[in-house]
């Protein structure tokens, strides 16, 4: 499963996000992810992918594409 698919699966299962709305250019705010949800998502990604995102800055202004790139970078490291 690709990084984008992993994140999409987590968003749908844990936040009830509409899969159609999960597009690379969509901001995390548009997906209704507030600061609490972002930190919850960080934990879920870390657990699912076995990576450490502690030094990754996440804000609601970031897009899905930026998140995927950041996670992919960590997963590849």
């Amino acid at each position: 499963m690709s990084t984008a698919d992993e994140i999409s699966t987590l968003l749908v299962a844990n936040f009830g996000t509409d899969p159609v709305a999960i597009r690379p250019e969509a901001s995390l705010r548009q997906l209704r992810l507030d600061s609490l949800a972002l930190e919850e998502l960080r934990l879920l990604i870390e657990d699912r992918m076995g990576i450490d995102l502690d030094d990754v800055q996440l804000t609601s202004r970031d897009t899905v594409g930026q998140l995927v790139d950041a996670v992919h970078g960590k997963a590849a490291a």
Binding site: F15, G16, L43
Partner: protein
């Protein structure tokens, strides 16, 4: 000597009920269960508690909270808040209210809970100790705070009036309804969604309750373990649930032509100021609460035809409470404890049992104290057992006692 202050009598209209219990989900199902017209409730051995002297709880089965609430809503609530939202939706629909059309600033929410989101706290403590600080969820505070149910219900309904939690241990639900009665009386709001919610399948809590010897250890027969007023009672059995009422200022209910189920006519509360866990052995605290509620309603013991007692199935509570009821009300009321059908739902108990008292007034039927096989000879009152009993009564009482000596009583009257 200054005359004691007495406010003008005030009867809040009960226009809606929402019930989620192990005896039934939904008001109709819960009433059928509690009055003995349906299958016995689910008292399940819980794997989380497998090695404890008490490993069973009254458990709500077949409730798909994810489907009912949606993932996005459910994820921000521990189970006690989820049960509260489900009950609140039912209560508001039962009252015939439309949250998209009401004056939302005049709608309040008051919900009692003893332990809030303790199961999530328990889970996160395990994560901390076994996996480290970075595996602890950022949701700990919002999910575990006792006001989680009140804030969740206010958010779900779009209620913009005052919302708050009440936490007085096992009398929380009753105090919440009493608080709502007072808010309506002062004109602080027109509508209050009030009651209690609890769900504490917490290994930490039950382990402590076992050490305290407060809970039944009848592991070989859990369905018969909760037996209020019985000679062989040995402690309470924890249950989960939520019971909420829609209360309105009577003129507000009348103006919209609402069907009124019953009235909350009087409220009294007191403190034992005696012990962290044990009730005052003379029952003077709960007596004071009950006498205050009767005076608030302008009634006497002779007017009361039915009591839904706290009746926890502990040796101390049942004897002290029954002796007090006999002293204040006499022998005539039809007394029951519905905890043998719902479990002791702690902070939710007062909400659930007040709702059941409303239904008893409407149906003129007193649910039985199931499992009461051998009444304790020291108990000076007759308790309705085995089967529901029909009666003719215009007023009823709900009593509650909480750890820490928090006593509360409500007087309800027929519509």
């Amino acid at each position: 000597m200054t005359a004691r202050y007495r406010p003008e009598p005030f009867a809040a209209a009960v226009t809606g009920i929402g019930l989620v219990t192990a005896a039934g989900v939904g008001t109709a199902a819960a009433w059928r269960g509690v009055s003995g017209a349906a299958d016995a409730p689910s008292v399940l051995h819980r794997p989380e508690l497998h090695d404890l002297p008490c490993d069973f709880m009254y458990t709500i089965t077949g409730l798909d909270t994810k489907a009912l609430l949606g993932v996005a809503v459910q994820r921000l609530m521990d189970r006690f808040s989820q049960l509260a939202v489900i009950a609140a939706r039912e209560a508001v629909a039962d009252a015939g209210l439309d949250p998209s059309a009401w004056d939302s600033g005049r709608v309040a929410v008051v919900i009692g809970s003893a332990h809030g989101g303790l199961p999530f706290y328990d889970e996160q403590h395990t994560a901390l100790t076994e996996r480290g600080a970075r595996r602890v969820s950022p949701k700990l505070a919002p999910l575990t705070v006792v006001n989680g149910a009140a804030s969740s219900v206010a958010t779900d309904l779009g209620a913009h009036g005052p919302s708050q939690a009440v936490s007085t241990a096992c009398s929380s639900g009753t105090v919440a309804i009493g608080t709502a009665h007072q808010m309506l009386r002062t004109g602080a709001c027109d509508i209050v969604v009030a009651g209690g919610a609890e769900s504490v399948c917490s290994r930490l809590l039950i382990a402590s309750a076992c050490r305290l010897k407060a809970v039944s250890t009848r592991r070989d027969d859990p369905e018969a373990a909760c037996r209020p007023f019985d000679t062989h009672r040995d402690g309470f059995v924890v249950g989960e649930g939520a019971g909420l009422l829609v209360l309105e200022r009577p003129e507000h209910a009348a103006a919209r032509g609402a069907a009124v189920r019953a009235h909350i006519a009087g409220y009294g509360a007191s403190s034992d100021a005696y012990s962290a866990v044990a009730p005052d052995p003379d029952g003077r605290g709960i007596e004071r609460a009950l006498r205050t509620a009767l005076a608030d309603a302008g009634l006497t013991g002779a007017d009361i035809g039915h009591v839904n007692a706290h009746g926890t199935s502990t040796v101390a509570n049942d004897l002290i409470e029954a002796t007090m009821l006999h002293r204040v009300l006499g022998e005539h009321p039809l007394v029951t404890s519905t905890k043998a059908m719902t479990g002791h739902t702690l902070g939710a108990a007062g909400g659930i049992e007040t709702a059941l008292t409303v239904l008893a007034l409407q149906h003129q039927l007193v649910p039985p104290t199931v499992n009461l096989d051998a009444p304790d000879p020291e108990i000076p009152i007759e308790v309705v057992s085995k089967e529901a009993r029909a009666g003719a009564f215009d007023a009823a009482v709900k009593t509650s006692l909480g750890f820490g000596g928090h006593n509360a009583a409500l007087v309800l009257t027929r519509a």
